[in-house]
Symmetry: C2
Subunit: 182 residues, 2 copies
């Protein structure tokens, strides 16, 4: 069914949000940006999606002001994709989706935890810290793999995510081992 | 592109959530259920989507335990779709999407407000009440149209939503005026 991506008849801010982030894979690209993934090839390797799909999603997110390009190499010119302030504001949406699946879907394990950096407490469904009572901004969240998380050993991005990692900080990836199928 | 709806390679609870609610229109069906829409024809009229799409979404949401059928008429048998506890737990996701579009996308007006029933304050992006400081459960949220919201006058569901309405309570719709194109 050719459903397009707009919801023209809906006078609704939720529908407007879904026009930007509601396409398949889009929120997982945004998730990866929170995890500190910034380069095209790293997204490609971690998501395992066709190049055309990734390119389309990155372009749409840039046009919507969710991601912005930052040049990290002049010659040849290479850009990274970094979350804007508007992109970072998607954190409650991503957190709530993950919390919802972990808490309410059958057979969903919880491969990673979101902890408050300051105290190590696991965030609640609304992004609040149960110890401090505060809503925790994304930059103060520690992404922590649970025991038993077993990614593809050939995937250097997944391997890098086996170490606890503060959201929004660049993920240290062994780029020499990032190989993309042509 | 035939992208399917699964994210088989992703060891991620966010991906699992999107397998259930990430298809086009699905979260707007869930939104309508929060707004108190329960009957197939009311969803159809309000969303303006093809019958096959709506039927598929309702079936998927029922299978995932987000909606459950409740019989409201014995002869002929007719069922309503009502959010389960798991479905109601999607409230932070919907709220955060709406808040995000209103606050961070250009040219998005905010046709409706989400207010805390107890004090009339508008909820924050994380679902908290700025006056009370509490996280407000969906059942204590008053959906309130902003001035100027101007739905299709031929649409009885949209008309019913012009009155402030407490989430999760059945919406009073003039069913005699609900006409569905065959």
């Amino acid at each position: 069914m050719g459903l397009g991506k707009d919801y023209a008849q809906q006078q609704c801010s939720i529908a407007r949000a879904l026009e930007v982030v509601g396409e398949r894979w889009t929120l997982l690209v945004v998730r990866d940006a929170f995890y500190g993934i910034r380069r095209y090839k790293d997204f490609l390797v971690h998501l395992g999606i066709p190049r055309a799909v990734l390119a389309s999603r990155l372009q749409s997110l840039e046009q919507a002001g969710v991601l912005e390009k930052q040049r990290y190499q002049q010659s040849p010119p290479r850009d990274e994709y970094v979350l804007t302030e508007a992109g970072i504001a998607l954190w409650p949406t991503l957190l709530s989706l993950g919390k919802w699946a972990s808490g309410h879907l059958e057979g969903v394990d919880t491969p990673r935890s979101f902890l408050h950096v300051a105290c190590g407490s696991e965030l609640g469904a609304y992004g609040q810290c149960p110890a401090c009572g505060d809503v925790v901004p994304a930059g103060d969240v520690l992404l922590t793999p649970r025991a038993g998380l077993d990614p593809d050993p050939e995937n250097p991005v997944s391997r890098a995510l086996l170490t606890p990692h503060r959201l929004l900080t660049p993920l240290e990836i062994d780029h020499t081992s990032v190989r993309v199928q042509q």
